[in-house]
């Protein structure tokens, strides 16, 4: 604390290197200096400093660990669930779009299972949007995104219903509506859902960053307090030849316990949290990406047959079917994400479904090629059978379902692993703030009592 502070607000005079007037600080220092000339005075000072250091140690420990514990709790109960919700919104929108096109391919009367899947996904998206909105502060980027999605969802549903109504009447206008709805989903809604997912993931990363750093200030105070205690006891021993001062010994023991608890507890928590991120969150992110890529690929595959060349795009000067080009793009992405998921999987329970998905993806590509060949040859019905037909015609729908199921399995596994690791990490910090505070008070009391015992000898 600078000496000028006691003079109130008199800033024009620059701080003089040698204060001409005596300040409270200077007087205090003088008084201390005077007290330090006698042993009782010295003891009082030592006692005060020890108590201060130990209490400061306890306080910083409680403060820093409360922060970290709260952040770890957020990871487990707030930001990860929100990030998972955002991923669910993204996924169910893509899934609904895919189901809509599947139902369309099946003809005017869409199969009940496909319709249920569509409705379920729309419901999930709508519900999760409400949850997400409730836990988002107004004015933030996420809130803006959620608002946009809430506006777009009914528009999209309206287009799909128009598409269905027209398709039921046998009007090709239905297909045009479906393509329009798909465009709205692909170019407006899914990018927004992806934004939300990215933002929530950043929030999760922030919580991790708040939970995992070592509590250096608390550790420094702990070391300082212990050093001071050791010095005081050594001085005591040299002056009195008494090996133990019970009070200071108790203070030392309590401080050591707090420091060990702090370091070990946090290290355990940190490793739990880190592994929940590395093995859980990263895997979950890659698997979500893979799942969305497979859904988009499936939607595009369906639309290739719905539109049958109504829309083309130019690739290196060659005009190709827009939806088939998009299909290939998404399949490439799926392959990449599955490779990444395989590299991230740290046990066989995580790896098996990823490998299963990978095998199904390869079969899917093969069958898709056959379906395209049939369609290019003008055998529309056979191409259709290859996409949504019965089991005998070996349709790609089987492969897509297998990819989807395997990714679901992998996601469940990684989610469980995340919860276990992050839960363990958070639990390692349980009681630390309160325990540290209590022990620090005890240690301070011990130090004061120990010094008091010596002081009493001077009466």
């Amino acid at each position: 604390m600078p000496p000028q502070q006691t003079r109130g607000a008199a800033p024009p005079v620059p701080a003089p290197p040698a204060p001409p007037r005596r300040t409270a600080w200077a007087e205090g220092v003088d008084r201390l200096r005077a007290a330090a000339t006698t042993e009782p005075g010295r003891l009082r000072i030592i006692g005060a400093v020890l108590a201060l250091l130990v209490v400061a140690f306890g306080a910083t420990t409680a403060w820093q660990m409360t922060d970290r514990s709260a952040a770890a709790d957020d990871v487990l109960h707030s930001s990860q669930p929100l990030s998972a919700d955002a991923a669910d919104i993204y996924r169910s929108l893509a899934d609904a779009n895919t189901a809509a096109s599947s139902g369309f391919l099946a003809g005017g009367e869409e199969p009940a299972a496909v319709r249920d899947r569509y409705e379920r996904n729309i419901r999930t998206a709508a519900q999760k949007l409400v949850t997400a909105a409730a836990s988002t502060d107004p004015g933030t980027r996420s809130a803006e995104t959620i608002k946009k999605l809430n506006t777009l969802l009914p528009q999209y549903k309206g287009l799909i219903e128009r598409a269905r109504a027209n398709n039921r009447q046998g009007f090709p206008l239905g297909g045009a509506y479906l393509r329009y709805a798909n465009e709205k989903m692909q170019t407006e809604m899914l990018p927004e859902a992806e934004n939300l997912y990215t933002t929530e993931n950043e929030r999760l990363r922030d919580d991790y960053d708040a939970a995992t750093p070592y509590p250096w200030i608390a550790i420094a105070f702990g070391v300082l307090a212990l050093a001071a205690l050791a010095w005081a006891q050594r001085r005591n021993y040299r002056l009195t030849n008494r090996v133990f001062n019970h009070g200071m010994l108790a203070a030392t023991a309590a401080s050591v316990v707090v420091l060990l608890w702090l370091v070990v507890g946090h290290t355990v928590a940190r490793s739990g949290l880190n592994s929940s991120y590395d093995d859980g969150v990263r895997s979950l992110n890659v698997l979500h990406d893979a799942s969305i890529a497979s859904l988009k690929a499936r939607g595009n595959e369906n639309l290739t047959l719905v539109s049958r060349g109504a829309e083309t795009t130019s690739v290196n000067g060659v005009s190709k079917d827009k939806y088939d080009v998009d299909f290939e793009k998404q399949m490439d992405l799926l392959a990449k994400k599955l490779t990444a998921a395989d590299a991230l999987a740290d046990d066989s329970a995580g790896r098996t479904p990823v490998n299963g998905a990978n095998a199904s993806m390869k079969e899917w590509l093969k069958r898709h090629g056959e379906a395209r060949d049939e369609d290019d040859d003008g055998n529309y019905q056979r191409a259709l059978d290859k996409i949504i037909g019965s089991k005998e015609s070996k349709p790609t729908s089987e492969c897509f379902d297998l990819v989807d199921q395997n990714l679901d399995k992998a996601l469940t596994h990684e989610q469980r692993q995340f919860s276990a690791d992050a839960g363990g990490g958070r639990d390692a910090m349980t009681g630390l703030p309160a325990g540290a505070a209590l022990l620090a008070v005890l240690a301070a009391a011990g130090a004061v009592l120990g010094i008091g015992r010596r002081l009493s000898e001077y009466r």
């Binding site: 009007f171 297909g175 290019d376 003008g378």
Partner: protein, 346 residues
């Protein structure tokens, strides 16, 4: 104007007479202006068809000079005469292969479309164009089912023929001088013209100043798009008509119209009628402002095949097959027809 004159016109009383008088006057004006539009349209062309291989340019040039929509004897719908070989070459190739490969549409209601409620596996495509394609397969190969359909988008009709992906395109394809540089056409099998489609309640009454300030939709690369551009250049439609909305398929225009994103659609009268058949709240406004013929497009220089198809079309017209197909698919939307357009030969 065979079919057009006989379209069901539900106008009554003096208002109807007056409207008809106006319509006739407009028709005369359009007929006079038509050459301008046609020639301009040919120059504007549709961008996607300009990609023809340079190799055929020399042979094509002479032919292109022979083509003029408003000179008797040089109209684009004149096809190769019937005299000469109609077997061998491309026809032989089809017979050797055992099936005809035909490029069609699947989004044109009543022309070439897939009815999602038709569960009969053998005929997933149906319509006026599809009937004609089946007829061609029946005549060349003896069975209407020796055919493979390929759904091709509007802007891929010419490249698909040039690449040899299909033997022919039967897909509401307008015969034009511009397109004749890249492909050959059969004789005309249908007459139509560009027309405006708008909601019944709309104050738009045709391809005129009533389009001022309105948003008009057309298919990218289509005759309608170039007609709109030309119309604005020629001041036939006001400069503040917004024609920027172009879509991949003419049917997408009806989607935009129903959603209120555009105020009117310009497309072939025949296709506009197919759109009107899917939505009873819209109707054709005014008379066709161009005169166009649909033809079967084939690869440039495949004269034997063109002659063969022309022959098939002759039979199709005479046998009543054409009329039967028209009555089945188009009568409801377009009204009764006096019959197919008469073939013109070079």
């Amino acid at each position: 104007m065979e079919e057009r004159g006989t379209r069901k016109v539900s106008l009554r009383g003096w208002g109807g007479v007056a409207t008809m008088a106006v319509a006739c006057a407009l028709t005369v004006v359009f007929a006079l202006l038509l050459p301008l539009t046609q020639r301009g349209g040919a120059v504007g062309g549709d961008g996607s068809t300009g990609a023809g291989p340079g190799g055929v340019a020399a042979g094509v040039q002479a032919r292109a000079d022979d083509c003029d929509a408003d000179v008797e004897g040089k109209e684009p719908e004149r096809s190769v005469s019937r005299s000469g070989s109609d077997s061998g070459g491309a026809v032989q190739a089809i017979m050797d292969r055992g099936y005809v490969s035909v490029g069609v549409d699947q989004n044109s209601y009543r022309w070439g479309y897939r009815d999602p409620n038709n569960l009969d596996e053998s005929s997933e495509l149906e319509g006026f164009d599809i009937d004609l394609a089946h007829e061609i397969a029946r005549e060349i190969l003896g069975s209407p089912d020796k055919i493979r359909f390929k759904a091709i988008p509007t802007n891929q009709r010419i490249p698909a023929i040039q690449r040899g992906d299909v033997d022919m395109v039967v897909r509401t394809m307008t015969i034009s001088c511009e397109r004749l540089k890249d492909v050959d056409f059969s004789t005309a099998y249908f007459q139509t013209g560009q027309q405006v489609l708008a909601p019944k309640a709309s104050d738009i009454d045709g391809f005129d100043k009533s389009l001022g300030g309105k948003r008009v939709c057309s298919a990218a690369g289509s005759t309608a798009e170039s007609a709109l551009k030309q119309g604005r250049t020629d001041r036939k439609i006001p400069a503040d008509t917004d024609i920027s909305e172009t879509v991949p398929n003419q049917l997408d225009c009806l989607v935009r119209l129903q959603l209120g994103e555009v105020d009117a659609v310009v497309t072939d009268g025949a296709l506009a009628a197919s759109q009107a058949a899917q939505d009873p709240t819209v109707q054709l406004k005014g008379e066709p402002f161009t005169k166009e013929y649909y033809g079967v497009a084939m690869k440039k220089g495949s004269d034997e095949l063109v002659r063969r198809v022309n022959g098939i079309l002759e039979d199709y017209r005479k046998s009543g097959g054409w009329q039967k197909s028209y009555d089945h698919w188009l009568k409801q939307a377009l009204g009764a027809s006096e019959g197919p357009p008469a073939p013109k030969y070079k």
